[in-house]
């Protein structure tokens, strides 16, 4: 039996070879099928290896003579990387399957195919890398491959702007990671993770590394206020790539954060948990509020990704706080909730982006105000999207409910924490989380209702056609997985036990022997959840209700004017729109958060122009944080521009003076 690490690296190498081959064959008509087929097959095998390694508890490591000559390239497979490999390749296999159908409509496949395979390889490599050099190299590889796909349709100025913002933020994040790893390696240059783990880090180093990881991994994951690139870049890519970026790449960022903060950095102080809790709560609420205001379907999904990252980081903050107080069982509960949500979000966010891609293929628009009535034209897509919406809204019996319920179970353990700051803050963050969950449900009622229900709001929407079999298969498979994971959460929790044991030194009680497939996070007397029971109850009661309605309602045929009470006007423009659905929430929250203002522009008397309702909204983070930074950079660039036009002697003098200045600093300082 070969080492699992060897198999993994060989498979990743196959992905890289696929990427190179894709450059050569990209313009052939069969290229789409070949590349996505290969990616799907390799991802499926990788998924199998990862699941086997996670359940079988197999670990392994490998040092290749690549990279820095005195370091080599270290790769390691442990329970944490096995879990994230599972997530990455689950998303990768689904996206490749979806791409088999969706990729046929791509106008420029040669701009997607090579980078798609490279992107998959990069994400896999990040997760198995075990030294700072390989990690950062794979991380940048992943970022640049996805950046190239954001630029697929580069003539669109919006995409170009998205790619620019993404590139700047990715560069900034990697710089933070570089500094963090440099700090942990110390002056001795112990860049292997093994050396970092065993080194004793000074408390000041730990604080700095924690802050830098928040910047580096947080910017990639989309933590507020570093999220600005995400709703621009994720929707700009082709939909299956959006699914990968939103569903999987943000999880790789969570992996980086977990690996450093929980594994390599040493024990952080308890207040690190407060930082994560506060940032996570703010991220969740702000992300979902943005999503509610959005009328572009894919941007709505991207904003909802930010909300889910917030949920994950709240759970991580709880895990840090519990683990700093030596409450391993509670830390394990919170960490399980976070990891479970990582898996869930990868499932349902990929599914929803696939659905949005199907809608985009069928109608050529992402604007919800131009959609509607698609449930009649695209029944299977609608069903899958409905499943994903229910899952992301945390409705039982789907998977989203389980992880959010576990997160709330962890929050309920907070009164046992000794620090008063945490005792007070954690329930408040719990409130924010509850608010975010409720708003998420509203956001997805709006997304599903406006897109798929009602009557078509544009001819394109009315003439939509159901998409191809591959896309439908990918969506249905993910929808079924969402339901299965929701009904059988105990198996996932048990599979996560080695991960939590490695990171926080504890695990949730084993769920496999709990009768009737229930889930018991702490003790039976406190709380338990049985997804199967809820599912059976919902199915039985819905079935019973349907029978009752059909049996006892009148069978008599009645005729009347269609929609007479609801729609006296036959125009579809009179329907409830995405904007009108969001209006109450905009009034309640938006006036504070986004400074939303509504003004009615009335034409002067006698003018026949229609009155207009103008809504004005501001993005507070962009305007308060990023716009001043951009203005400062512009200002400095304008000033430094004069340096372009100096004489040769002045340049020499400049070099000379700066050298003398640095020497003088050295002389005075040392």
């Amino acid at each position: 039996m070969m080492e699992p690490a060897t198999i993994l690296l060989a498979l990743i190498a196959v992905l890289l070879v696929t990427a190179v081959a894709a450059v050569a064959i990209a313009r052939l008509p069969a290229a789409t099928a070949i590349v996505y087929g290969a990616c799907a097959a390799v991802s499926a095998v990788l998924l199998a290896v990862a699941v086997a390694a996670l359940i079988g508890g197999r670990t392994g490591q490998l040092v290749l003579p690549l990279g820095l000559p005195w370091l080599g390239a270290h790769f390691r497979l442990d329970s944490l990387s096995a879990f994230f490999l599972t997530v990455v390749n689950l998303g990768g296999a689904a996206a490749s399957l979806y791409g088999l159908g969706y990729g046929r409509h791509e106008s420029a496949p040669h701009r997607v195919l090579p980078f798609f395979a490279a992107f998959l390889a990069g994400m896999n490599l990040v997760v198995v890398a075990a030294d700072a050099f390989s990690f950062l190299l794979s991380w940048e590889f992943m970022s640049l491959a996805s950046w190239a796909m954001v630029l697929t349709h580069h003539r669109d100025p919006d995409n170009a702007r998205a790619a620019l913002v993404y590139l700047v933020m990715a560069g900034f994040g990697t710089m933070a990671l570089l500094l963090a790893f440099g700090l942990m390696a110390g002056p001795g240059g112990g860049y292997a993770f093994e050396a970092m783990r065993s080194a004793a880090h000074a408390p000041s180093t730990t604080v700095l590394v924690f802050a830098l990881m928040l910047l580096g991994a947080g910017s990639k994951a989309g933590l507020v206020p570093l999220h600005v690139w995400l709703p621009l870049a994720h929707p700009a890519a082709p939909s299956h790539v959006s699914a990968l970026m939103s569903g999987v790449m943000t999880k790789v960022a969570v992996y980086g954060f977990l690996r450093v903060v929980f594994d390599l950095m040493g024990d952080p102080a308890w207040w690190a948990g407060i930082v994560l809790l506060a940032l996570g709560g703010a991220t969740a609420v702000l992300g979902i509020l943005h999503a509610l205001m959005e009328r572009d379907l894919k941007r709505l999904l991207a904003y909802s990704t930010i909300e889910n990252i917030g949920v994950i980081f709240v759970s991580l903050g709880l895990a840090l706080a519990f683990s700093a107080n030596a409450m391993a069982w509670a830390a394990a509960l919170a960490l399980t909730a976070a990891l479970f949500h990582v898996l869930n979000h990868a499932l349902f966010k990929s599914l929803l982006f696939f659905g949005a891609g199907a809608v985009l293929t069928a109608t050529a628009t992402r604007d919800m105000e131009r959609l509607g009535g698609l449930i009649h034209r695209m029944p299977v897509t609608s069903l899958a999207f409905l499943g994903g919406s229910a899952a992301i809204s945390a409705l039982p019996p789907f998977n989203g409910f389980v992880s959010e319920w576990l997160a709330f179970q962890a929050i309920l353990q907070s009164p046992q924490l000794p620090q008063w700051g945490l005792k007070i803050l954690v329930p408040a963050v719990g409130g924010l989380l509850a608010l975010a969950a409720a708003l998420a449900a509203a956001a997805f009622v709006r997304a599903f209702g406006v897109t798929f229900l009602g009557r078509p709001r544009s001819p394109a929407s009315g003439d939509a056609r159901e998409v191809d079999r591959f896309s439908l298969a990918a969506m249905l498979a993910l929808a079924v997985l969402c339901l299965l994971v929701g009904i059988l959460p105990g198996f996932v929790i048990d599979a996560l036990a080695p991960v939590t044991r490695a990171l926080v030194g504890g695990a949730m009680p084993a769920q496999a022997h709990v009768p009737w497939l229930s889930v018991v996070p702490v003790a039976e007397s406190r709380s338990s959840y049985n997804g199967l029971l809820v599912f059976l109850f919902i199915a039985a009661s819905a079935w019973l209700a349907a029978i009752l309605v059909h049996r006892f309602a009148s069978h008599e045929l009645r005729r009347g004017p269609a929609w007479d009470c609801g729609f006296p006007d036959p125009s579809p423009a009179t329907q409830y729109t995405a904007g009108s659905f969001a209006q109450p929430i905009r009034r309640v929250f938006g006036s504070v958060v986004f400074q939303a203002r509504e003004t009615v522009a009335m034409p002067p008397p006698g003018d026949t122009a229609p009155a207009r309702l103008v809504v004005e909204m501001h993005d507070p983070i962009w305007e308060r944080l990023y716009a001043p930074i951009a203005a400062a950079v512009d200002f400095a660039a304008l000033r430094l521009n004069r340096l372009q036009f100096l004489t040769i002697r002045r340049y020499l003098v400049l070099v000379f003076l700066s050298l003398v200045f640095l020497l003088a600093v050295l002389a005075l300082w040392s």
Partner: protein, 221 residues
């Protein structure tokens, strides 16, 4: 041989290089500048040869020979020819006054002393002093480049700077020959490139005063 005498001779040669660097600063005729540069290279080759002797490193003799043949003889002669062919041997140039230049040079020597003596408290005293002198020579070479406007004298300043680098490299024990040879060759190539550029500049602008280049850029701005 007596240890302190060894040290004194090395010190004297390195200090002599600094002194010749000062002489470079106030030459306002090109021929005189080139002659002083040849002297500069000669002192360098002596210093390197002495280092080769006291360190017992025969490969340093090769470095000394390279310095003697190329820097003290070939390059100054080539520059002489260039100056003659360009017909600029009567040019006088002084951007900054001699007094102020000398004062700045003294300040630079003081600065490099302070930096080196502070930065290397544990090092071998011979190497320390050598490094301090070498840094002074580098800085003085830069000062020559900064205070001149004729391209030929900037080339001379650049090569004086490079001599300082060689002095630093030979003062430290165990510097492999490859490094020195590569430095020597890079300077040769730089010399060739700069020589070609001098003629190109001359062809185009009828002068090697780099002020003309600035004017040209100014017109295009």
């Amino acid at each position: 041989m007596n240890g302190s005498l060894t040290f004194d001779i090395a010190h004297m040669l390195a200090g002599g290089l600094v002194l010749v660097s000062f002489m470079l600063l106030y030459q306002d005729r090109l021929y005189a500048l080139l002659n002083v540069y040849a002297l500069h290279a000669l002192v360098l080759s002596l210093s390197v040869a002495w280092q080769a002797h006291i360190q017992g490193a025969p490969h340093l003799y090769v470095t000394a020979a390279i310095a003697l043949v190329f820097k003290a003889i070939v390059i100054p002669m080539a520059l002489h020819r260039i100056v003659r062919r360009l017909g600029i041997h009567r040019d006088i140039e002084a951007v900054v006054g001699v007094g102020r230049t000398m004062l700045a040079g003294m300040g630079l020597v003081a600065l490099s002393m302070v930096v080196m003596l502070r930065a290397t408290p544990e090092a071998d005293p011979l190497a320390r002093a050598d490094l301090a002198f070498a840094l002074s020579v580098v800085l003085l070479g830069l000062l020559v480049m900064v205070t001149r406007r004729n391209a030929v004298s900037q080339v001379v300043g650049f090569m004086a700077l490079e001599n300082g680098l060689v002095l630093a490299a030979t003062g430290a024990r165990g510097m492999p020959l490859v490094v020195e040879i590569s430095v020597a060759f890079s300077i040769l190539i730089a010399f060739i490139v700069i020589g070609i550029f001098l003629f190109r500049i001359r062809e185009r602008f009828d002068t090697v005063d780099i002020g003309a280049l600035d004017q040209f850029r100014g017109e295009r701005r």
